[in-house]
């Protein structure tokens, strides 16, 4: 029987991590729809979602035949590598070492690229626009699938993880359609910072579980781990900013 302590962090982690990817995909699909109309953007996005659904339906059931400890260790490592990468990049961005990712810039870049092809024949231009939307949704969707599989790696937790990801898709789409512009207002680096801390926390937790070492406090240890990594990331970004100021 699943309890709130188990499902709430799973739904939350899948929701936040997926929303980052959905924002990126939505920005590109929106750029396509602005330049070439809603039809090619919608067809491209729907085709990519269909491909993703087929892949998940084909490979998802295989997970049930893998031993739980082995799966936890494999997924723990996956999450750890994935989460540490995000956290490191978010720290470097917060510390001023890397430039912040700008959805407005991404939107302008895609729009510009598509307008460059607008002089081509109408059908070819629509195909191109549809392919761009397809590629964006497929690529970002693949990352969402990885997140859902990794976050929901324990028996019974795949559904809460999928619910979190689906909620992120619905919310981002609703917000995006309401404002009809790139979701640049969502502070992406803060989200990535949080998600990096969460994925690293989950990864550390599941690596130990997979190795057969129990955590003091059970599932509540995940919250402690996430807090620890976020605090460490924050301290590192503050140190980077101070060092840069001292050198200037």
């Amino acid at each position: 029987m699943l309890n709130l302590a188990q499902t709430a962090p799973i739904v939350g982690a899948a929701f936040i991590a997926s929303s980052v990817e959905v924002v990126e995909a939505f920005t590109i699909v929106l750029a396509v729809s602005v330049v070439r109309g809603v039809r090619p953007a919608a067809i491209g996005a729907a085709a990519a979602l269909a491909v993703l659904a087929c892949v998940v339906a084909a490979f998802g059931p295989l997970l049930a035949s893998v031993p739980v400890h082995g799966l936890q260790l494999a997924v723990g490592i996956l999450l750890l590598v994935f989460g540490l990468g995000w956290l490191r990049k978010a720290v470097l961005r917060a510390g001023g070492v890397l430039a912040l990712h700008d959805e407005d810039q991404a939107f302008a870049k895609e729009t510009q690229a598509l307008r460059g092809h607008a002089g081509a024949r109408e059908t070819a231009a629509n195909w191109l626009a549809g392919t761009v939307a397809f590629k964006a949704v497929l690529l970002e969707g693949t990352e969402v699938v990885f997140i859902v599989l990794a976050v929901g790696a324990r028996p019974g937790l795949l559904v809460p993880a999928a619910v979190g990801a689906a909620a992120a898709c619905v919310l981002v789409l609703a917000l995006g359609l309401a404002v009809r512009r790139p979701l640049a207002k969502i502070p992406e680096n803060s989200l990535k910072f949080l998600v990096g801390g969460m994925l690293t926390g989950f990864g550390t937790f599941w690596c130990c579980e997979g190795l057969g070492a129990p955590w003091p406090g059970g599932d509540w240890a995940i919250l402690g781990l996430v807090a620890l990594y976020l605090a460490a990331g924050l301290a590192l970004s503050v140190t980077l900013r101070r060092t840069a100021r001292r050198m200037a």
Partner: protein, 68 residues
């Protein structure tokens, strides 16, 4: 074909953006597994050792990134 290439690049990017960070994280887990099997690390201590290893990997990864 272009879509497949982009898909492969995305999956690679997810795990190989910083190979050193990936290698350090894998080494931390590997050392913990070896320590547990060889009875050098007690199961009750392992979570703290791994969390410490992850913190070291993150710190070194950030320092390397800042120096580039």
């Amino acid at each position: 074909m272009e879509v497949l290439r982009a898909l492969a690049a995305t999956i690679a990017k997810m795990f190989a953006t910083d190979l050193w960070l990936t290698a350090t994280a894998l080494a931390a887990v590997g050392l913990c597994a070896a320590g547990l099997r060889g009875h050098f690390i007690a199961p009750a201590v392992l979570p703290f050792v791994l969390a410490g290893g992850v913190l070291i990997a993150l710190t070194v990864g950030v320092i390397r990134g800042a120096r580039r």
